[in-house]
Symmetry: C2
Subunit: 227 residues, 2 copies
């Protein structure tokens, strides 16, 4: 009996309501005995179901079927070039502007930057088969990533350079919809106020921010995943 088999059996019992939502299920030892396998095998199966939100486990309290399962959707965050190529299109990009500047307050606060320093501000248009695909507005912390100033960003864009050269330890990401600004609209070849899909991401190396980036996708962009 593999852990996948145990997991499948347990999942069946949940979906067929043999074990009702909120109910306590047998302990690992009992299940191991029933399925004829080691407790570690049951543990792995149940642990993963708990991570998926279907079970709630507590030491001493036992394992319960979640009443209102909070299912998890996992999105792949890959570099833009791969996103485009996965759609079977040719990737290219234009660096629209790239300069050192003092970031506005909202940016420096979000990146926890000390005041007075100048940081790198890059605007890039990413294209699929030569047509506008996504507009990127990025600030990069020059204190955390000083080497970037020496890098050649004509062949490799900032996104890819950072992914290879400044691995982040953690970050946050948000998804939303907004009306396109005039500049975004002009670059993406749409009308101002047309809906765009916004991804905002900030990444960190322990306590130091690396970059804060806002991506604007045209309306036909969909982010998909399985649950």
């Amino acid at each position: 009996m593999t852990w996948q088999a145990v997991q499948a059996k347990v999942q069946r019992r949940i979906s067929e309501r043999v074990w009702e939502p909120g109910a306590l299920i047998p302990g690992e030892k009992d299940l191991a005995e029933e399925f004829g396998c080691a407790r570690a095998t049951v543990n792995r199966a149940l642990r993963q179901l708990a991570e998926a939100g279907l079970l709630e486990r507590r030491r001493k309290g036992g394992t319960r079927v979640t009443r209102h399962p909070v299912r998890k959707a996992t999105l792949d965050i890959s570099i833009t070039r791969h996103e485009v190529e996965q759609r079977g299109k040719a990737y290219s990009f234009n660096t629209l502007s790239k300069r050192l500047a003092a970031p506005p307050k909202a940016i420096s606060a979000a990146m926890k930057l000390p005041p007075g320093e100048k940081h790198l501000h890059i605007k890039t248009l990413h294209k699929a088969d030569g047509r506008p695909f996504m507009f990127e507005d990025r600030w990069i912390n020059t204190l955390t990533v000083p080497h970037l100033l020496d890098a050649d960003l004509s062949q490799v864009n900032a996104n890819e350079w950072l992914v290879e050269n400044a691995l982040f330890t953690h970050g946050s990401i948000s998804f939303s919809a907004a009306g396109a600004t005039k500049y975004q609209a002009q670059q993406l070849a749409i009308e101002p106020e047309d809906a765009v899909f916004i991804i905002q991401r900030s990444t960190w190396q322990s306590d130091h921010s690396i970059t804060l980036v806002k991506l604007a996708y045209t309306q036909d962009f969909k982010m998909r995943t399985q649950i």
Copy 2:
């Protein structure tokens, strides 16, 4: 040495480039020896890093540091009431319409419905502190979920009823931006063509579709997570 400690050490070596992107790292046996723990402990640590996209593992081929890590963002898919309450607001909803109807082709194709049957079509406005929060347009397969027709949906909305009474085995979800339709705009108290955040979700019980739902959120809605 716990698996978390092993994982932390490995992660450090990756972020400090002791092991470069693309490089082969020592085998599990060697690492177990170095860290003074069992191979299973190393295995668990590395397996999880591989799931996170930082490592690539192959039998016989060994373990490599991923060159272009595809990081995973995990979004919690909870019921709308919880979403609203987590924002510290009072939840309420209006059922705008609820009737049996023959679904349009796009819907019946996506839900793999045999032609000719009527299914339940529900439109709901979800509110936070009495103000429009999200507009929901849902089709429910009456063949898979016949009991729903008897349910009282005045107290509990369709979403919550389904979560409790028709656990899904799998599904797909997509996120995008769009201009609001006239009807959506009217219900959400915004202007037509204003940007709305769209979540489209379909859920299944093995081969049978349960429901297909399109959620339209107003512009101030952001979906956040950590990576």
